[in-house]
Amino acid sequence: MARITAGLTTSHIPAVGAAIDLGKTGEPYWKPVFAGYEFSKRWIAEHMPDVVVLVYNDHASAFSLEMIPTFAIGCAESFQPADEGWGPRPVPVVQGHPELAWHIAQSTILDEFDMTIVNRMDVDHGLTVPLSLLFGQPAAWPCKVIPLAVNVVQYPPPTGNRCWNLGRAISKAVASFDRDLKVMVWGTGGMSHQLQGPRAGLINRDFDTRFLDGLTKDPEALAKIPHVEYVREAGSEGIELVMWLIMRGALERAAREVHRFYHVPASNTAVGHIILENPPR
């Protein structure tokens, strides 16, 4: 049977993608950002998953205001990098895993999550920057990816509790998939950042640290944080952190933190990155 081996969270800042694409990772400004992923790149090479369920938010790329799904699961064979206004990122096409994606869609719908099934979708920096951070610049991504897009653009987004429970439902779905696959779940976005208006540039190291601590030790408490607290404490785009709870809900309660990185700033944002491993079976 398929099993979830590990999860990780990471910011998905577009400027980080640009730094990689333009060969600036060695510059003094960027060096400390990428240093935080050195361990992670070695770790993932040793623990290469067959499939990543990549939880991210679409930043008004695949989904306009015409149709706004709360949870959208990508069941296509492949997904093209989106043109977000400066041409598509020069990264490989993302290869999906339709069989597992459809299985997760079916299982979660029967568990009463009201998923939107998507068979055609371009993927933006929210999905491709995490891949670049973990895998660098290969000719092809080394594993399959199932995009799971969460609405955090149009209010209201799903509650933290709903995200947590979706994670649990994904865990159940993966465990019932009848093929021997190593699956990881990634939660992306965050940490504290505000990209709009006179309060742009807000960073809250204390909030972020508590969130990183709680992710391993007390995720149930994090799942109770109301939206207004994210926006107040972590900035308007800090709401992206609800997506991390999907990752956490998909892992076991006893998951162990094996790496943590926190850095301010990358562009306007606090970079947060943590790796959790499920207990060995």
Binding site: P14, A60, Y155, Q196, P198, S267
Partner: protein, 131 residues
């Protein structure tokens, strides 16, 4: 529920993209989506006003785009994830947009970020109810 939307209004310098904003900014944001195609970006650059006339937005919204007044666009229903496509079309970084929205020179804004960002203390609450 009423409390849900109202709670956000205590947060300084922040517009939450709720139903009201979304309805107000629908065509402004859909215009921004159109800039995801190179041809449309070229057409916009070749004649901004003419391109904007194609979209049934208000004259105020058009003027805010022409002025690159992002705070005004946000007040008129724009959402930053959509508006970022205008910045990308102009070839500006997000930090450039942030400097425009915060009204400080880009250098100064960048220096603030390198120094740890805008502090949360004093930026939580308009009314002081949230400390």
């Amino acid at each position: 529920m009423k409390g849900y939307n109202e709670a956000f209004q205590d947060i300084p310098g922040t517009v939450v993209f709720d139903a009201t904003q979304s309805r107000l900014g629908y065509h402004l944001n859909q215009f921004c989506m159109s800039l995801m195609k190179a041809d449309n970006r070229a057409a916009f650059k070749a004649g901004e006003r003419a391109y904007l006339e194609r979209w049934p937005m208000t004259e105020e919204q058009r003027q805010a785009v022409l002025d690159r007044d992002y705070n005004r666009m946000i007040a008129l229903g724009g959402n930053i994830y959509f508006l970022a496509k205008i910045g990308a079309t102009d070839g500006f970084s997000f930090q450039n947009l942030a400097s425009k929205m915060t009204g400080v020179p880009e250098d100064e804004y960048k220096a603030m970020m390198v120094a740890g960002g805008r502090p949360i203390e004093g930026n939580r609450s308009k009314t002081g109810k949230a400390k």
